[in-house]
């Protein structure tokens, strides 16, 4: 028997030695950028299909657009990119872009006006999720040959009516505006899919990086394009690794195994702040946290009840505690930094006021509602805080937690009394949010306008629909801004939306990393300007 114990202890020592064999502080290679992020939302890397945050981060670095943002000067707005200049026709319906000369795709093919035009047509024809960003200008699979045209050096797009030029150009900075190597892509066409299957996992761009691999829920690997027209990126390889847990991301960063951690929660940010070799960069993002009241519910459709709910949220308490540093109070549908944004935040937690409003509405004893919340700790906590305050005026809120798809299905079917969720703008123009929060031309069930938040909550938008329509074709910028100010002021008072917070992204990184940007509220992350 003693020999067994000897065997056991021998094995244990051997194991211990093997394990402890030198895994001290590590450092990532100088030409490589290693990022921990949650990338499980990526479903496709085809710019005509991709519509998720992590996917946008990849596409922004792989594909150029006709116009684009400079990560080092985002305030400047859209800038020339693959197009060097553009001109608007007299009737304001056509824009002609002149292509940059001498650019090539990573395949070696030249970047031509044909590529640019065909890329846009492809988005419209494929009609995947993000296609609406282009089709809202009147492009259809049937008319693209006439509305999106090209010659040797120019591309011309013609919209169905006159829109604010900034609206069109802002929309073109979205992923659907990516210029792809149409020759290479069409070589991989299968079953008439215009190369969609192939492009979902490969890249055919002309920009700073090309895609080496995407392993779902695991990693995305990019390698640099030395011929990038703005100069070869310093970071020759970029690896984005999926790390779900904030604590894991923090440990990896502290130990120097990664350069940037993008999903630290407030407690981990607080814990790592001031640690040796680590810095935190805050960027205001475009995402809004909101709750909405289904107008199909008789109680919730009463104006005073809608008002009352807006006084039943502990905005300050949440911002200063579990949302600290990650969200800032914002009660309007246009995110701060957007054209036409306002920073009036009139609502605060006021139980007495809410009580008297409910009394006015004839429901002093309260009622019960069901709230749908996606399975994410942050939202569950917000929901519980709301639940806690609602209880004080007799409103019982039952929380149903489910996966994103589950909750969304019910939200779109107008089944939830209260929905708590986030909304991120699709492109950096006020229309992106105005056109969904305050716009609902047909509130009937049959309309099935599931893309509109107002419709999902069965809210007829109380006359704001026409005002939104008017704002989007106003070409005088100052007037347009004023119109959005007015719309939002009215929206705050009458809408069933309780807009609560705007997101701040806190990226924690090793302190030798410079110039990293997640794209703020208007675009996605970019890597080519990063040095370390």
């Amino acid at each position: 028997m003693t020999s067994f114990s000897r065997l056991l202890s021998g094995a244990a020592i051997g194991l211990a030695v093997a394990v402890t064999g030198g895994f001290a502080f590590a450092e990532t290679p100088a030409n490589m950028l290693v990022i921990a992020n949650r990338i499980d939302d990526i479903t496709s890397l085809d710019p005509a299909q991709s519509f998720e945050f992590a996917g946008s981060d990849v596409l922004r670095n792989v594909y150029g657009n006709l116009v684009n943002f400079d990560p080092l000067d985002l305030e400047a707005g859209y800038q020339p990119d693959l197009a060097t200049e553009w001109s608007v026709s007299e009737d304001g319906k056509s824009i002609t872009f002149t292509m940059r000369e001498g650019m090539t795709f990573t395949s070696g093919n030249p970047v031509t006006a044909e590529d640019a035009a065909m890329s846009l047509r492809r988005v419209v024809t494929l009609n995947k999720t993000p296609a609406f960003i282009l089709t809202q200008f009147g492009f259809t699979p049937e008319n693209v040959e006439e509305t999106i045209t090209f010659d040797d050096k120019t591309v011309t797009i013609t919209t169905d009516k006159q829109y604010a030029t900034s609206f069109i150009l802002n929309a073109l900075t979205a992923n659907v505006g990516s210029v792809i190597d149409i020759k290479t892509v069409m070589e991989h066409e299968a079953d008439g899919d215009m190369g969609n299957t192939w492009l979902s996992t490969n890249s055919a761009g002309s920009y700073a990086y090309k895609l080496d691999s995407w392993k779902p829920n695991e990693s995305v690997t990019l390698s640099s394009n030395p011929d990038f027209y703005k100069g070869a990126p310093t970071m020759e390889r970029v690896i984005v690794r999926h790390v779900q847990e904030s604590a894991s991301q923090r440990l990896l960063l502290e130990r120097g195994d990664i350069d940037i951690a993008r999903n630290l929660n407030p407690e981990d940010v607080a814990g790592i702040e001031g640690a040796d070799g680590v810095k935190i960069i805050d960027e205001l993002k475009g995402r809004l946290m909101y709750a909405s009241l289904n107008q199909k519910n008789e109680q919730l459709s009463k104006p005073q009840v809608k008002q009352a709910f807006k006084y039943l949220i502990d905005y300050q308490g949440m911002q200063d505690s579990f949302l600290k540093g990650k969200y800032t109070i914002h009660q309007n549908f246009l995110p701060a930094t957007y054209l036409g944004a306002v920073d009036d935040n009139p609502f605060t937690l006021d139980i007495e006021k809410a009580k008297s409003l409910l009394e006015e509405a004839g429901v002093p004893e309260g009622f019960a509602i069901e709230a749908g919340v996606r399975e994410s700790q942050e939202r569950i906590e917000i929901a519980q805080s709301m639940q806690n305050q609602f209880a004080k005026v007799g409103i019982t809120m039952n929380i149903t937690v489910g996966t994103a798809a589950q909750i969304l299905s019910r939200y779109r079917a107008r089944e939830l009394d209260l929905y708590l969720g986030e909304w991120g703008p699709d492109y950096p123009d006020p229309q992106t949010n105005a056109g969904t929060f305050a716009y609902n031309p047909d509130n009937s069930d049959e309309a099935g306008a599931t893309g509109l938040l107002a419709w999902r909550n069965a809210w007829d938008a109380g006359g704001l629909t026409e005002k939104v329509d008017a704002a989007v074709i106003e070409t005088d910028t100052a007037k347009r801004i004023q119109m959005y100010h007015d719309i939002q002021a009215e929206f705050r008072e009458i809408s069933p939306f309780i807009i609560m917070f705007q997101q701040i992204e806190q990226s924690a990184m090793r302190d030798n990393v410079t110039d990293f940007s997640t794209g703020q509220a208007i675009t996605a992350a970019s890597y080519w300007q990063v040095t370390k």
Binding site: G21, V34, S44, N127, F132, N217, I239, H242, L252
Partner: protein, 352 residues
């Protein structure tokens, strides 16, 4: 969680039938079980309140996009037609494409299964290396302090919420002490360095002779594997003890001792020899349990294995991926069962 079927619960076995009949019967049984497995999974997928189309097109899609996707997925066809189309594909070795990211499911599984295989194998080896001797000692010294210690060690293993132990382990051994690698299978800059042959990084790096990568991979696997190892140690050691007790109380042991045979020879030469087959069954079951993918361990350690693959797919209504994953896991489970059955029939004198 999956270590339940014990040999005691098995039906009495028929005498060894002629080989061909036995083989045919076994294959038929496997086929029926697999078909049932697929059917149940398929039904679950269809009654899920998650709209698979919505899971793909997302929140912003227009109704026309939605409709096109609905048709493209063949959801307009009757349920049984969809099922038969799927079965037909599976029989041709085609597990379909992930409806979510349109990658071939077989390819994804070929990537995630080796990760689980590697983890489970190391785990079960740890369980065997430590568990078997522990069980034997506990049986030989029944009632002694070492028996008590073995019992407590095993019971603690059974009682520990593994996701909690994993978090604590990560915090202490990686976060504070820095003895082991962090979450994931490798440090990021070692990823994709060695060519993929088996998909098991330890094996691949050894084949490539790249010992730096091997060491790094080992530092990552050691903690999650130890957790799983502890779990299977608990099971294996208890079962070993129980089997050994039965043998040690048998008459032939007493006879051998009376005849003056050395204690070592009695224990290892005779008693242990007789429990081999039972033990292999237990180990196979334990291994099957770990191969099912320890979902929680994989989540805590960002381990891209089959368990977390199926779970993620399930929660996003990616039914092709769920079905594919279930087929593979079910098949492994059934094959391990058949294997241990076979051993029983071949080696166990009572079964003859």
């Amino acid at each position: 969680m999956a270590l339940n079927a014990e040999p005691g619960g098995r039906a009495p076995r028929a005498p060894l039938a002629p080989m061909a009949v036995a083989v045919g019967k076994t294959i038929l049984q496997i086929a029926v079980t697999m078909l049932g497995l697929l059917f149940v999974t398929f039904i679950i997928g269809r009654v899920m309140p998650i709209d698979p189309v919505l899971a793909i097109v997302g929140e912003r899609a227009s109704q026309s996009t939605y409709n096109e996707t609905y048709l493209a997925m063949g959801l307009d066809k009757p349920l049984f037609v969809q099922f038969f189309i799927y079965i037909g594909d599976v029989l041709q070795g085609d597990l379909g494409k992930s409806v979510l990211n349109s990658r071939p499911v077989a390819e994804d599984i070929a990537r995630v299964f080796p990760a689980t295989l590697e983890l489970a194998t190391i785990g079960v080896i740890m369980g065997i290396v430590l568990g078997v001797p522990l069980g034997v000692i506990a049986a030989v010294r029944r009632g002694s302090w070492i028996d008590q210690v073995a019992r407590v060690v095993a019971l603690i293993g059974y009682s520990m919420p593994i996701f909690w132990l994993g978090l604590m382990g990560l915090l202490i051994f990686y976060g504070i002490l820095g003895w082991v690698g962090g979450p994931g299978r490798l440090d990021i800059f070692y990823v994709d360095i060695v060519p993929q042959v088996t998909g098991m990084i330890l094996v691949d790096s050894a084949l490539a002779g790249n010992w730096t990568v091997f060491q790094n991979a080992f530092s990552h696997i050691v903690l999650p594997a130890s957790l799983l190892g502890y779990y299977s140690l608990a099971y294996i050691s208890r079962m070993t003890r129980s089997f050994m007790l039965e043998q040690l109380s048998a008459e032939y042991v007493t006879t051998a001792r009376v005849k003056g045979m050395s204690e070592w020879n009695v224990i290892w030469g005779h008693a242990f020899r007789n429990i081999r087959v039972q033990l292999i069954t237990v180990i196979a079951l334990s291994y099957a349990g770990l191969l099912e993918g320890s979902v929680l361990t994989e989540i805590i350690f960002s381990w891209p294995g089959i368990g977390s693959y199926i779970t993620t797919a399930l929660l996003s209504a990616d039914m092709n991926a769920v079905l594919g994953g279930t087929v593979v896991v079910g098949l492994v489970f059934i094959l391990l069962n058949v294997f241990s059955d076979l051993l029983y029939r071949v080696f166990d004198p009572r079964a003859k």
